[in-house]
Symmetry: D2
């Protein structure tokens, strides 16, 4: 089978409604449906990732590739172009508006820095053309500065400054490409920006190096007029033992330390959230609370496994709880839901790529509808508002803005304050949630 025929037997995916039993149709994702005044597509802004879906051959640490994709048998620019065709064929059949890529995902492999520059440039022309033909847009671009052996000890955080400079080169080119392709964000995932052993590591130096690289990228973003934010994608570990941007709160501290909090936001991945010991809804709510919510890499981990499984996310309750914070805060600005999800190594057929993405996108659409129902019903958000109402009153505001510790304590003693516990109603709220999911 040639690459061009890979998805030949699959027709464009249509919306058929919740009662459909067709696994190659959407049951919830109806992109033009208006939801709270916005098209569903504009709420979700779904993107397909290049790496898992078109680059990975199904290998894992315990065994070789299983997928036998026809384009994996080709080389160089020919391989890159075949992959591009098949990718845009996929995007088009799914009807999703965005895609995302790392530089090396799309290009012919390069042996050195000059070849990298040339090969990347060569494919960009083709990518631009494809985007023009299909209307598919770029949610974000990024540079892969973790796979090549030169990055084995990190890119920005490498003990060798030449590696930093090499990474800077790739980042400059990937930012240029993102600008050229009207990408709406630029992502930095820390890959190997951490350590395998603290024994051979100078933590402080490495954090400063990382702060420097992000600062350089921020300056460059302004210089070239890349309009969207830079997004850091938190992850606690893997492949490293410890990665410096372990979760949203950690990234926030890092941004404050280097004065980057106005230009950089987070790209939160579900699987990374749970690997870090946080719930996904926590990460999203925290990012909004700290003003750094950017985008989402939609996937899930396995609750019993401790590595990044990047599975398709289809749990309606979990998605709804996350979507609730997104809807409540008005949705994405420049971000979207990128499917950083891969079919299992046993899911070797072309159809499996469709099953995963259709069900994953449907699950997001359903979660959106559930979250909107919760908002419109009002009981859940209202309960929370009322619970804290005391803080909006005179006493609460005085505590927050005026009284000193001494004054507060004196007043408390004088008034003989004896606050009585009120039920937190957790089971009520959980039951209420179940009325919507």
């Amino acid at each position: 089978m040639s690459s061009s025929e890979f998805f030949a037997k699959i027709d464009p995916i249509k919306y058929e409604g919740p009662e459909s039993k067709n696994p190659l149709a959407y049951r919830y994702y109806d992109k033009d449906q208006m939801v709270m005044g916005k098209r569903m597509e504009d709420w979700l802004r779904p993107a397909i990732c290049y790496w898992h879906t078109f680059c990975w051959d199904g290998f894992d640490v315990f065994g070789g590739g299983t997928f036998n994709r026809p384009w994996h048998k080709l080389d160089g620019q020919e391989m890159a172009e075949a992959k591009l065709d098949v990718a845009f064929d996929f995007f088009t059949k799914l009807g999703t508006p965005y895609f995302c890529f790392h530089d090396i995902d799309i290009m012919a492999p390069a042996a050195d820095i000059k070849e990298h520059t040339n090969n990347f440039a060569a494919i960009l022309d083709k990518v631009e053309e494809k985007m023009g033909e299909t209307g598919v847009k770029l949610l974000w671009g990024t540079a892969n500065v973790f796979s090549h052996p030169r990055f084995m000890a990190g890119a920005s955080t490498n003990p060798d400054p030449e590696v930093f400079a090499f990474a800077a080169t790739q980042i400059r080119q990937a930012m240029d490409a993102t600008k050229r392709l009207n990408g709406e964000n630029y992502v930095m995932w820390g890959g190997r920006e951490g350590y395998d052993s603290i024994l051979n590591t100078d933590l402080k130096r490495e954090m400063d190096q990382l702060g420097r690289m992000v600062s350089l990228a921020v300056d460059y973003k302004h210089k070239i007029g890349l309009s969207g934010p830079i997004l850091i994608e938190p992850k606690p570990h893997e492949p490293t033992k410890h990665q410096y941007d372990r979760d949203t709160a950690t990234v926030y501290g890092f941004l404050k330390k280097y004065g980057l909090e106005n230009d950089v936001k987070v790209n939160i991945e579900t699987n990374h959230a749970t690997l870090a010991g946080n719930s996904m809804e926590h990460e999203v709510a925290t990012a909004f609370a700290l003003g750094i919510f950017g985008s989402i890499d939609a996937n899930r981990g396995d609750p019993q496994n401790g590595w990044d499984t990047d599975q398709f996310w289809m749990e309606n309750m979990e998605i709804t709880k996350t979507m609730y914070h997104i809807v409540k805060n008005g949705g994405f600005e420049t971000g979207g839901f990128n499917f950083d999800s891969k079919v299992r190594r046993q899911s070797i057929d072309a159809e499996d790529l469709f099953y995963g993405h259709i069900s994953g996108l449907d699950a997001l659409a359903r979660g959106l509808l559930c979250a909107v129902d919760i908002m419109e019903d009002g009981r859940m958000p209202d309960f929370v508002t009322e619970r804290y109402a005391g803080w909006d009153g005179e006493f609460g505001q005085w505590l927050l803005k005026q009284g000193s510790l001494d004054e507060i304590a004196d007043r408390a003693v004088k008034e003989g304050l004896d606050p009585k516990p009120k039920s937190g109603r957790q089971e009520y709220m959980e039951g209420l949630l179940n009325q919507f999911v």
Copy 2:
């Protein structure tokens, strides 16, 4: 048995050297031994905690108290004084220089805010007297604003502002007491400053409330001239589902957000570090790198259990790795090693309290000696220095301080940079560590 006789049959603990087989003697802790120019006691600054050792009766969630301490059979001020006697008897026999307490640990139980004020004042006179008699000093004081049912939904982060005010009152008094007793730090542990369910919680409000309380405490510290820092003790969860100050990096972001990073440092607990998914050495190295290292709650969790077991910490390798960062950074300023450790529920005898603390303190002393050996040998720190030496050269400094992304990339392409991987030597470093532990 009366409280005063509780430790009667145990003599003051002496240093007998590494060959001693006496479980009631120190094998490594020789407080006046000079180590890198400082007395061992001045390096370790060990403190005994009141709560686990004198307040807890051995209960857990699945069963009642097992300890049968004589003072637990008394009430009110009589109980408080008996406990005080036995505590200082213990401190004296161990020969440790510091202790730590929460307000309610030392006082007669109080029914309301006025009684709290009175009962706390009543015991403080006695505490001061005991300290004078024995020379035992206060490493830090704190207020327990998490045990009483009024704090079930948090203290500072409570939806009810009256609870905030109540907590503020206790904190003011505990800070006053710490000042009066020449305490060298003041600690805030977040107890229930988090949430059990995000469904009923306004994360942003709660973080702001917490920021406000710490700001109030910082102002008050300056007002009363409490010289040491305020210390926040990170913990990721338990009893809450999520606690806002989950680890050192998170606390750093919180401090930066509220402008508190110059007045507040961290009190790192080993067991909390590992519950948060971090190694203890990571937490300590991070705190030094971020400039917020304060003090340590020395204990350990169980590697197979997911709750705060607060066991005595006796693993020489783990301690040495942590101590190495402390020694390398010059040791504590105002902090110390507080034994936030409890004997197991089955360790019901007076002797068991001694076995735990003696072996725990000995383990710290041994770890100190090992870390000093590593520093003096020099191979481990030198390896790291040399590994990053390139960053101290012209090119590294130019990358860090001058070049823009564009300039860096241009130079890299022009010079055809092709950095070659160098071994990270992790096994060599691990083997080297084994020459010292």
Copy 3:
């Protein structure tokens, strides 16, 4: 408020259908609804537990009781009878057919073995009377041989044989009571049957002691004609560092070792399953595969917390996946769904007990309906059947029952076997599941 008025303002809970917004009504639990030929109540066999709901006062390791239940202010037999009244009032209003208890949950506290015998006997008369009046039945009884300090080092596995004998006494009485009250199963949860430290433990002795106790109970069951099975409830740890019956597969090995596999089954708790690193559906499927499925303690843990939170279980997808295995295997024989679930410490009102149990029971009912839909649709079970169909053919049967390794290998080489991978269709199956939940 007196105990008898505790639930006064709450009317019996009715089924109002999925569209109801009334948090004090069932939306799915319609006990007489026929589902695949059986009443919904007969599929679920729901039971309310005494301990969490009527004994616990809301304390945790970090703070005291929050619940202020009126019967907790009483003592002795009066307390026991008030608790009994309120419990049966609750069962009746919920309309649930079963309850479960530990001996000490229902009786007046006892100081010694004789008082235990007398106090337990005294309340049993009342319990029997209540059961007669209300028609509420006993799903299972058990003995609490872990809370009293005498059991701090285990009951059956205690180093002191007298503790074993004391526990045997309680077990005998609890089995007698279960028989008298027509209890349908007898449960043994390992509480402290494990170790806190392997350093002071003889694992082999302890496992043999535990094997002995279960054997004694099995013999006694036959002697008194207790018709249902003995159920062991697996848990990996907590309060112990390690508990011997960590999960279903471990219990199976234990039963085979002591020849108990025909008389003993498992009572699987959701929260214990996940603490042990297993999914709940895995535990249930494993128990059916090994022929030891007994009953379920329905609850959930928190995915980010490492202790037994015993929360109400309301995740439809997780419940459906578990229920699917139950339905596929024909449902419970003598077991049922016991609500080993507790309201959160902040849920202090009488209503909260209803919210938790109503939503929890509704979630089970909904999961049952979903699982039945899956079975009736047939695509999911059929996919699995067809996937393994080769094993039912001649070659598969020959491999399983006849060929030697030599013969198999010879045939494989001779025929040049070259099996081709077939897609495992995981995403398809996950999407299919989403058509039903």
Copy 4:
């Protein structure tokens, strides 16, 4: 550099004693030193594994190979022979007596079942020759039935019986080879014998298929006179979501189910133990208690990471605690310590392989010496013996062997048993352990 020169600059490793600072010398491993009547080598029986050390090129899921081994640039039989040379050069320089391999580790890659047979046979002649020349022995052999895509859904547990037959063929040949090379054990690691999703899996069928394969191997072992046991290596998951032989207790139940407990033992890997939520010492103690202790794969995981890192194991305390159970039970019969450990991906030099293995073997030797000290001192084992002494008395024996539940309970009531808690002395024992490590 050619393969034959790969270790050229490294001289045979010598024992230089604990004071040596030479990282290319043993400090504790002195193979002929007599320890409790046995040579140290005979206690430890160390083996080097082929796969991590000679086959792996340093790739991980996030990036390509870093090692640049010269033999990885060759093909077919030439590659296999170059690898063999370098491997035996390594074994000889380390002075370790054993090695271990999977079939495909040592042979030229094969495209089909016949080529597999031929290529495996071709290298076996060379292996036998090398063993004869060097005196290096085979601790165990095994078949890799998990890496090839045909095994993506398991080998024995595959839904396709032809895959079972293919695996059987490899196993037969690997067993034959093990017999021919005088291998002392034959290992079966479950690789992909589990599931990625329970949704598409028939658990019961798969367990029966696995039971069948192990039974076939046991029969074949007897047929060909392979003298040592078959060893199952437990692992809970990875690459699968769940693997059927998750830990020692689970394997025991599996063996009992299929009547295999007399012919099969466990090969316990440290990293697998901890991934399963067990301590290594627990797994070893459990295996001895159940009579199925076989061999050890020595390595460690990272306490903060949830995947199989297979690092070199150098923690003296952990090793000593494990070694204590081995020494107490008389040591290995046919098993040994296989270094299933790999240098980090950043440890790219030939020296790094030596640093890892030397320090790893030294750590085992040191742990052995510590464990022997503990045994000879006697206080630790004696404490445990005395703790359970009551069970050896008349009452304990009567409980264990004679009394019925009724008789025991009657006697307990009659005698008014009131057992008093005795301290478990955990901190004393932990302190005592610290006198030896």
